[in-house]
Symmetry: C2
Amino acid sequence: MRISLERDTSRDRRPVYQQIADQIRTQIEAERLTAGSRLPPIRDLARDLGVNRDTVALAYESLATAGMVESAVGRGTFVADTRTGAPPAAAFEPVFSATTDRLMAFERRRPRFGSAESAVPMHALIPNPGLYPAEAFRRALNRALHEGGPGLLLYGSPQGDLSLRRVLAERLGRAGIAVTPAEVVLCHGASQGISLALRLFAAPGDVVAFEEPTYNNVLAAALGLGIESAAIPMRADGMDLGVLERTLARPEVKALYTIPTFHNPMGTTTSLAHRRAVLDAARRHGVPIIEDGYEMDLRFTGRSLPPLAGLDDAGLVVHLFSFSKSLFPGARVGAISARGRTVEALLALKQASDLSDALPIQAALAGFVSSGEYDRHLVRLRRVLRGRRDALLDALAREMPEGTTWTTPEGGYQVWVELPDEIDTRDLLTDAVGAGVLFAPGSQFNHDGRASRCLRLTFAMADAEDLRLGVARLARCVRARLERRPSESAGVHI
Amino acid sequence: MRISLERDTSRDRRPVYQQIADQIRTQIEAERLTAGSRLPPIRDLARDLGVNRDTVALAYESLATAGMVESAVGRGTFVADTRTGAPPAAAFEPVFSATTDRLMAFERRRPRFGSAESAVPMHALIPNPGLYPAEAFRRALNRALHEGGPGLLLYGSPQGDLSLRRVLAERLGRAGIAVTPAEVVLCHGASQGISLALRLFAAPGDVVAFEEPTYNNVLAAALGLGIESAAIPMRADGMDLGVLERTLARPEVKALYTIPTFHNPMGTTTSLAHRRAVLDAARRHGVPIIEDGYEMDLRFTGRSLPPLAGLDDAGLVVHLFSFSKSLFPGARVGAISARGRTVEALLALKQASDLSDALPIQAALAGFVSSGEYDRHLVRLRRVLRGRRDALLDALAREMPEGTTWTTPEGGYQVWVELPDEIDTRDLLTDAVGAGVLFAPGSQFNHDGRASRCLRLTFAMADAEDLRLGVARLARCVRARLERRPSESAGVHI
């Protein structure tokens, strides 16, 4: 397979991955590459062409999306069978809805991390599978199906399995959120919970206030629903109360989304006084709050603070819980707590979205939690996280250039790092991929995707030793950038 | 517990269920009913008050939604623990988005079938759990988790498990839809697939064309997304081509949703010539088609027809597949087939909706299908369905009053019945609940919910013997209505 690249964009404006994809496509169409033949492994072609593996991966992906090739895990990428019959004379060019177009543009803006196996993965907020109690869950699931029989394979109610709602209502109660099982609605991961909660209050064209920086997928969810976002800057102890006040006063702002505990991406926890101030502002303006408690079970040090939903005596707060970070994401089980008519509205939205969730998994989780396995798992997990956090903070203190600052999380998986100089951490990521360390650049947590000199490091996937290695690599990349670029102090942003 | 009802609506305008709920609530608040005490069983209270069980069930449900009582399957309904602390001084009254409000109104309009255990269930399109290969699936799931290990509990890709996409691409190919695994997107039941497909093309305020009558949950999905609907009347051999032509010519109509095979609710199958005419109209107007093939694996007689997606050489058709009717609904696995950029758009929407689905269930289904268990199950299921359909059609011919007509499905679970006189089948349902038979009144499949003299009977839950009993009961109710009401010929509607 011969591929030649033109890197001078004045001669060829196509991105490099597109040049690669186009040349492979031409060879397939000319039948120089025939159905079933194997494309070179990504790392080989990347080495031969002198490009990043990510670039080749992207080229293969775009060919796969076009149906030209197929990938098989562990086997490689193959030229797909060409269809029988002639290609269509005039293929239909779909016109997507405006919201879908905006969402696709947002997705294309996401950083690409490539597939370098030796890189230290500090970019993703996905707990390492080595931490999952997979065998215990397999047994719980097998038991649930054995005991539940065929009835467990019916549609569930849109509200979800009662036994799991009971167990969760009891746990939420201990965390300070007094709810009955009838006030808990199970959902397909907290990510579906976010979409449902946004739709409760905001129609397309309405505005929802989000912290900045914030969880990037919640921005994608809003965008895909045609909901506009208003940014409330995060300070060290929580969101800026002045901006909050002005934002909630706008009549088109229909809800406030917040992560007060182990904030994503910052790792910080809003103080009690600040929580009360946020609640008070929301109450005065009559704006409901969507509180994302996705890491609430993961405190490994410090004193617990009541969730907003526990301080709320007016029924302002819709609270989201998730098993994805505290257990594993693959169950796709989250829970929404709400009051009164809000529960009825959630059920209508859930039913119109996908009718119901898979009962076997919910029933298995109910058994897993009520048998004490979940709590035993949490004890182990918190100990691991505490050790990893300490290793990460130590390495940052030892390695990072002077003037770098970072947060000190009391739970969860993430630390937010601010560099001492105006470096766009998207550029830094390109260096870091080459140096064998991955992180999430701050821009991806900004509403408008603008450049940021911050970055998120996670201790979800990597262990203490890898974290030390990763920080050393990162620090070298930062120093190199700082040396290349004289200090500038203008245009600072979080 | 003392409850007194006022049935004269000039004295008390509240519905009866509300009167019951309000009196129980008063007794709870006055602590005459204390936390943990058991409410009378629904059937006892219904008998004592001389009301339908459904009415009492609705009262209990509304108390449960308000957090006043809790229901425990098989144990009854109990007064909930009252909260510690004083009730809120000024409780927040949530303002829902306009689309959510409309959706809630739609949900409240759904017929209520009560919980009479002795009634013959011909109302729901849910296969009887007695037909599920639950044990074989439990083993497949256990095996998948055993082999996949913790990695199967990670987030999946938004596109879903490759092994299942392979298996489905191969099956779809045999059904005439030539797709690669890269052109298949797995989703959380075909119901989520419907929402995703609608969102592909239609933004809030846009219009999507649906058949009338049509699957009621697709109308709910559109409503909840703020998408308007245009109705295309169904004729015996498919949708009205004249109305279709005029509808697709409207620029605000962004897509057409259709169920050409074993139509829900009608059970009919659109002819090949008619399929070509629909495709031709859509191509001329450049309007994409969402083809719902939710029962495609359930043909038990007659000749197979190619799906629209199999006749489409322009890439107009997005095709939905589901395991919910052919296997069981509780897996919540469906699949969308699409081409080119439409796949990219679907992945962006899926990711923004709920990131990914549960891999263990997808991997288990892949094993279940590729081992041949699914096909063996289909052989058994189709034989059962054929027998039930024949029993139902025989009973209709024997029992129903002259002038009644019905459809003859060649697959799936549903028969559409049109009564010889202008009876609102919602009223008939009230009689039928009392007589011990349940059906779906035609109005629920109309876009505007207007009255219909049609009804849908399913042979999903009931066996041949029950079907005969159910039809006999239904026929008695129809005759009674016909005798009460002299024939009128005005105002006929499907």
